[in-house]
Symmetry: C2
Subunit: 349 residues, 2 copies
């Protein structure tokens, strides 16, 4: 469905919003025919509303879950409606006293280039000189908060712990590894799916050891990288990675279960680790979390991570795909592991 | 190997100890040929030693793990040596100032009728009038302490929680269910492997609902028994029971993983639950424990549970097998689920 505007806009602000909609629930790996790119003519602003030109739109692994029609911590996407997600943009028209044209805002109306809603849907955000606004979707945003909460609140990492991170070259994983090192970990180990990413882990991100899980027996590679065992596991992957971590855990180990990208597109239910009884014999704790329930830590997180990023003690990568038309391909690339660091779509100036 | 004593004993105390020894590591289900019953002539007591006639010897599921040659929280049994385990007995001869003939003692030199060692190996135990000494192996012992720690310390059960217990007619499970009810659970649900046990759960033990997991689809039976979901799961079984619990968990649910008797005798590594990603999406916590690390709670446990048992608010069952010669068969029966409540072997007066 395409709606085009044949009339002159009533203001100088753009009125045609290009938006990605889910039109069929994917079975297994999503395909292009499961989606459509709609052009929506935005109505004139109602009182209290603002119009925002998105600068960057976030694509994240958890969105795959929202494409299924199952109860989860975020509601499923509605067929035929525009998908939502994290975004950062700038106000281009306002009928609200709380936001002015030019203000930078964070919000959750992603998957579109123009967003329009009540001003309450948009959070004004102070610009950081020299930092791209895309950082508010990653290194200064929910992504790094997820790393901070999982490592420190959920897994209760302590100085001297050996920490293993799966999917370590991703946006969350690279922040976890750097935070662990800065917090006094004895050893930080990461896994990734390509030799280039592995080089990035031990180079740019300062991991003590890293391996390409596609290059050999996963549990053995981890055991070799962690000869004294691991104390903390930050799981972005699920599946065999969790099984390997259970084998390598020292007594009293803690796992923060953040995601399971390895199984998101499985149509048959994948089997779980075969060594779960080790949870009992080693006295392990596995705890899952979704960041929506931990927003109360945002202030402490920002106080710690903001200065670390500003001083260069923590670094981050972004994979930027240009144009809202390419957002779907960006999401597919994310599922295939083609990103390094945070994957974002650049949608405007 | 059998050693018989042709000489008159040097004291009136018996000197021939009948002891069960592991002579071959079982592959899968243990068989009689993996063990031998040895008759050992005990040497005269050394200074500081005592000789104890066991009254009851404990057989427990965790012993199956000790028959394997793998690192675990308790060391493997040594081939050709007598197996150890919980026991309660009475001193029959003493060369120690700290223990006198007739004293009741708890100790860990199980799987034999006569035990002899330094007095430090035996803990003097106050008799409880009208209570069989076997209770110190179960309702007043490590078994109920395991229930108390798992429910309250590990799973952090709160009044108003719905609690699910697997293997609920066992020694640990029946204590968990009763404690949960007495601690203000909204609803207590148990699973067991026979209709007789299910009747015991909703009858004698006061569970609100119970089902025979062999009689239908496990996850569906649990969902029917817990229409509003569960908040706490006490896992004695592992395998499919954990999978069913994950499906039924409410957000923020907690599992105490105590044992996995369903998989102890598997030779191929069993696959784990297929729905582990629910740990993340529901924000669940799974924590394993072995009671050896939680002995610091023994005093608080005894203060709560002792009066509950004395007043009859908590009840317990025992399955008693008579004679040290039958200890192996008792253990096999335990693995087959033939016990109701604590399984003990009666080895003396």
């Amino acid at each position: 469905m395409t709606t085009t505007n044949q009339q002159a806009p009533v203001s100088s602000a753009p009125t045609i919003s290009r938006q990605w909609q889910l039109i069929r629930r994917p079975s297994g790996w999503p395909v292009a025919d499961d989606f459509r790119l709609a052009e929506i003519e935005l109505p004139p602003l109602a009182d209290g509303e603002v119009r925002v030109r998105n600068e960057f739109v976030s694509v994240d692994p958890y969105m795959r879950g929202r494409m299924n029609d199952v109860k989860s911590y975020t509601p499923p996407y509605v067929l035929g409606e525009t998908m939502t997600g994290g975004a950062v943009g700038r106000v281009v028209e306002s009928r609200s006293d709380s936001l002015a044209v030019g203000d930078l805002v964070r919000h959750f109306l992603g998957w579109r280039d123009l967003a329009q809603a009540d001003a309450a849907a948009f959070a004004p955000t102070a610009e950081v000189p020299g930092v791209s606004s895309s950082a508010f979707l990653g290194a200064l945003g929910m992504t790094s908060l997820t790393a901070w909460v999982g490592l420190l609140v959920i897994a209760n990492m302590k100085p001297g712990d050996t920490v293993f991170v799966s999917g370590a070259a991703g946006a969350v994983g690279s922040a976890v590894g750097q935070l662990a090192r800065l917090r006094g970990a004895k050893r930080v180990i990461g896994s990734a799916g390509s030799d280039e990413k592995v080089a990035l882990l031990t180079g740019k991100y300062g991991f003590d050891a890293a391996f390409n899980y596609k290059n050999g027996h996963l549990a053995r590679q981890l055991a070799d990288a962690a000869p004294d065992g691991i104390d903390v596991y930050f799981d972005n992957v699920g599946g065999e990675h969790l099984e390997a971590a259970l084998y390598s855990f020292n007594d009293g180990g803690r796992a923060a279960l953040c995601g399971a990208i390895s199984v998101y597109n499985e149509t048959a239910a994948p089997s779980g680790p075969r060594n779960l009884p080790m949870i009992t014999t080693k006295g392990l704790r596995l705890e899952g979390f979704t960041i929506g329930n931990y927003q109360q830590h945002a202030t402490a997180f920002a106080a710690e991570v903001g200065p670390l990023l500003a001083s260069g003690q923590m670094v981050s990568d972004e994979t930027v795909i240009d144009g809202i038309d390419n957002a779907l391909e960006a999401f597919f690339g994310l599922l295939r592991g083609e990103n390094t660091g945070k994957m974002v779509v650049h949608t405007g100036a």
